[in-house]
């Protein structure tokens, strides 16, 4: 009992630090996990055994892929090309960038996508002399929504994919339909809401059309090779079930092949661009959640859920969508998913496999889309707001929440209906 209480206290303090960032996230997570070891709740060996190397290497691999791709200038190229393709009509820029961002985020990591696209969006909106706020917020939403569709698109999915034997194609097959519906609703909402509100002068539009985006592609050969490598990666991912390959193997192989293609002098630079702080944050989180499972509290929680819901599969699935969604909005989707995965494992066991994979889809939708709600819901929100703030476009916590909650509520309602209709 003493162990249980101390474990809960350590976890509580750690999560408080992670959410508030009073101390750096990574530091908090790692510190919390080693305090678990120091307190004798688990041995160091046990702690390390909880680190999910599949996730670690998948993240590292994808970060290397993005770092190389980024250097080809293709992200800025795509953003400017998209804006020009609309011939500078502001509402269409927003709609098309929404779709583009969602597509890119489905394949690549959200934080990088946002980090590369927001500056271009700020430039375009400044040139067109229109307010950047709706663009920033909608692009951030698009990156989270798009990321929900695939195994590699969003951190919660990466975590779920790694701890289950669900394949890349299963994710697509089960998550793309609700994501498409959410996107469609979003696009309609944007069109209705902003259609008459944004005006652009002819002269400013002409300035945008003068951008020579072709210059942005610096190394065509590297870009071509990188795109081939990414296509091959997607093919391998889609054959994951047949080939019985784990995600990390596919991502790392792609990353290493791309490293060989690119200039060997850049290897160190590219590797230094990997977000090691995030990687170690994940490691710390794995160990903390591991420590919690050691105490048995997560199993108790699982049994309690089954008991309270009276074994009602519908109720359990909907509870998971909304609880993980709201919890993600409040404390960030990654810690929520990491904690929920062992719980759902136990619920599935307690239910005797009656739910098949439904609860995983409920968790994926709930946590990815719950992340839309607040600035701290997902890492990409924090990054987008950070860039906007540094450029003098202040987005306050509740300004974001005003839009975030609308998106989150619509998404969770769509997800609930989808799960209900398709699986229950």
């Amino acid at each position: 009992m003493l162990i249980l209480i101390s474990a809960l206290i350590i976890m509580g303090i750690t999560y408080l630090f992670i959410v508030t960032e009073w101390i750096n996230k990574m530091t908090a997570a790692l510190l919390g996990s080693f305090i678990f070891v120091l307190a004798g709740i688990m041995t160091q060996e046990q702690a390390f055994s909880y680190i999910d190397w599949n996730v670690v290497f998948l993240l590292v691999g994808m970060m290397i892929v993005v770092a190389i791709l980024k250097d080809t200038g293709v992200f800025q190229y795509v953003a400017i090309k998209t804006a020009k393709a609309t011939r500078g009509r502001p509402i269409w820029i927003m709609l098309l960038l929404f779709v583009m961002t969602a597509l890119i985020s489905a394949v690549l990591d959200n934080v990088t996508t946002v980090m590369l696209l927001i500056p271009v969006v700020l430039l375009i909106t400044q040139e067109l002399k229109i307010s950047p706020y709706p663009y920033i917020i909608n692009i951030t939403m698009a990156s989270n929504i798009g990321g929900t569709a695939t195994l590699i698109g969003d951190p919660p999915n990466i975590l779920i994919g790694s701890r289950t034997d669900l394949t890349f194609m299963q994710f697509i097959y089960n998550l793309v339909p609700p994501v498409l519906v959410v996107m469609l609703i979003s696009l309609i909402m944007i069109r209705i809401f902003y259609r008459k509100r944004i005006k652009v002068s002819n002269r400013d539009r002409a300035k945008l059309m003068e951008y020579n985006e072709r210059i942005l592609i610096k190394d065509r050969k590297l870009l071509r090779r990188s795109l081939y490598a990414i296509c091959l990666m997607l093919v391998l991912f889609s054959l994951q079930g047949v080939l019985a390959l784990e995600s990390a193997t596919i991502a790392m192989t792609t990353a290493l092949v791309m490293l060989i293609f690119s200039n060997r002098k850049y290897v160190e630079q590219i590797v230094s661009e990997v977000d090691w702080v995030t990687i170690f944050f994940f490691m710390g989180l794995f160990m903390i959640v591991g420590g919690l499972s050691e105490t048995g509290i997560l199993r108790t929680l699982a049994h309690w859920i089954v008991e309270v819901t009276n074994n009602d599969s519908k109720l359990i699935a909907l509870t998971i969508i909304w609880v993980s969604g709201i919890a993600s909005a409040l404390m960030g989707c990654v810690p929520v998913v990491a904690t929920m995965i062992p719980v759902i494992n136990d619920v599935n066991l307690a239910m005797g496999g009656a739910m098949e994979n439904t609860l995983w889809w409920a968790l994926a939708l709930g946590s990815c889309l719950g992340g839309l709600g607040t600035p701290i819901g997902a890492a990409s929100n924090i990054v987008a707001i950070g860039i906007a703030n540094r450029n003098g476009f202040r987005i306050r916590f509740f300004q974001f929440v005003k839009y975030g909650l609308i998106y989150m509520t619509i998404s969770l309602v769509v997800s609930s209906i989808y799960i209900w209709v398709r699986y229950l």
Partner: protein, 299 residues
């Protein structure tokens, strides 16, 4: 070492009459050549002094002239000194003392420290008026012994920095800073409050950055953008923006005691050609890489 140890009464004289700088030089050369066996002497030495003088004035606003010559095949430092009872006026400088230093080509550290000590002396009115009362070379030696001036063995930034540098205040407008940049050809200023407390630095790059928003800096390259209105219209913002909005905290400032080698090290390490010199939180000077080149390497 003490300055008096380097002096010799035989090469010091008091000039009671009106005279010119060239005549003082000639007399000092004559005295030095009488008592020392120099590789170059008399007219030739005089030519060297005048040639050096033509490259740049050796008179300082504090009323002192320190001409100097470096000679090959000399392994010594010799000082000649003239106290002018009737000041020689050059421009708006009223010269009270001329000190001729003849030294070898390698010992620039001693020379620079000598100059630093002499300059400090010239800025001390009490010590200067004491020297003005002396009537013989031996009196002068006596005064120097009494003042007990020390020539530092090592040169520090305090010796070669620009004292009383130009600065801006946090509440100054960019237009004010722009005017200073244009008038003095200086690209970076220390920022101080009304009590001269050092707050940070503001450079022409900080100024130009006002026209380049942060989001452009986040991009890999800007070749696609041929022109950018906010940059071109920067001048319109000059009167709206205060220096405090663009200044940056200087992570590293130097103290006057910092050695030359450490200063060069910091400049290279941090790719910074300008440092503020701060003592007890107050700005006392600035030092640039060109100062080091001109006043140490080239001196």
């Amino acid at each position: 070492m003490r300055l008096v140890s380097l002096l010799d009464a035989q090469t010091i004289y008091i000039e009671h009459h009106e005279t010119t700088l060239v005549r003082v030089y000639a007399k000092l050369v004559e005295k030095i050549c009488q008592h020392h066996n120099l590789p170059e002497c008399c007219n030739h030495l005089m030519d060297l002094i005048l040639k050096r003088e033509a490259e740049g004035s050796t008179t300082y606003p504090s009323g002192i002239a320190i001409p100097h010559v470096r000679l090959d095949n000399l392994d010594d430092t010799i000082i000649g000194m003239c106290v002018l009872k009737k000041p020689v006026v050059i421009g708006d400088i009223s010269l009270k003392m001329v000190i001729l230093i003849i030294t070898d080509k390698s010992s620039s550290k001693l020379y620079l420290n000598l100059v630093a000590t002499l300059l400090k002396l010239s800025r001390n009115p009490a010590q200067m008026s004491l020297l003005m009362t002396d009537n013989t070379a031996h009196d002068v030696i006596g005064s120097f012994r009494m003042m007990d001036l020390v020539v530092k063995e090592d040169l520090t930034i305090g010796d070669i920095m620009t004292q009383e540098p130009l600065f801006v205040r946090p509440e100054s407008k960019l237009s004010e800073m722009g005017r200073l940049m244009a008038e003095h050809g200086i690209s970076v200023f220390p920022v101080v409050d009304e009590k001269m407390r050092f707050l940070g630095e503001a450079s022409v790059l900080n100024y130009l950055k006002v026209g380049i928003p942060e989001y452009l800096l986040l991009m890999d390259n800007l070749q696609f953008l041929r022109a950018f209105e906010p940059l071109e219209r920067l001048i319109e913002k000059e009167t709206d923006i205060q220096v405090r909005e663009i200044m940056q905290n200087a992570d590293i400032v130097l103290s006057p005691e910092t050695s030359i080698i450490e200063t060069v090290f910091e400049m290279i390490q941090h790719k910074k050609r300008f440092f503020s010199v701060v003592q007890d939180g107050k700005l006392v000077g600035v030092i640039t890489a060109m100062d080091i080149y001109r006043r140490v390497i080239r001196a």
